[in-house]
Point group: C2
Chain length 144, copies 2
Amino acid sequence: MDLKSSKNIFVEMMFILNKNYNEYLDASFGKYDLTATQGLFLFKLEEFPDTTQKDLAKHFSLSKGWVAKYFMDLENKGFIEREKVQNDKRQYKITLTSKTTDLLPTFKRIIYDWNDQVHLDDLGDDFMDKFSKLVLNSSKVAVR
Amino acid sequence: MDLKSSKNIFVEMMFILNKNYNEYLDASFGKYDLTATQGLFLFKLEEFPDTTQKDLAKHFSLSKGWVAKYFMDLENKGFIEREKVQNDKRQYKITLTSKTTDLLPTFKRIIYDWNDQVHLDDLGDDFMDKFSKLVLNSSKVAVR
């Protein structure tokens, strides 16, 4: 039985897209003993080396406790090194290890391969602009 | 610190959009002791009354065991009634209870309210066509 909706239910498309993408990311990053979210953290730390755990929590709307747990795990697995900041003992200076810098091209390839397979480039700038606006709007939605 | 990427990282936008949407859906459906996925199941059952658990598992790429657990829960909470099919004891005939048919307009309002708040209608048909193609492509991506 074909359950394709007669109505254009965006929520359903989001569910399926997200499920597919997560399956791919979990399998790909899982090989390196990482979650997909931890992979995203590493990309951010490479692009913005002064990023703090607090910055990441804010950017991804995650709880600070949750981010702390993920960072502890990244440290234990040798992906990052953390050093307490002299003036603020609650803050860490985070550095990527050479293991991570060696692996980053491979991690990016994981993302680019997915982009290629879904033909992301064919969607065009207008689509990406609108998608980016949608993401922004979704951050303003009131959760009741 | 603003962590907005200089590169247009689709994966990151997906992460944030999905996180925001899930937060909204979990809070909204949670009030009725339902998960968002169970809400989607109920919509499907209303639109396609002959839907089986197997159909839903296939449509949402979920494991049959997982769908079975969700249906057991829906039955226990009085959202559906299940009756074994005479000719095939492994299949159930599923019926929505009056509790559910009474609540369905409210559940749909949850979805429509989000659509309104993110201005989904402003994105246009071309965006939706492309998004739908993206979802379709994502189902074909090889998970290695």
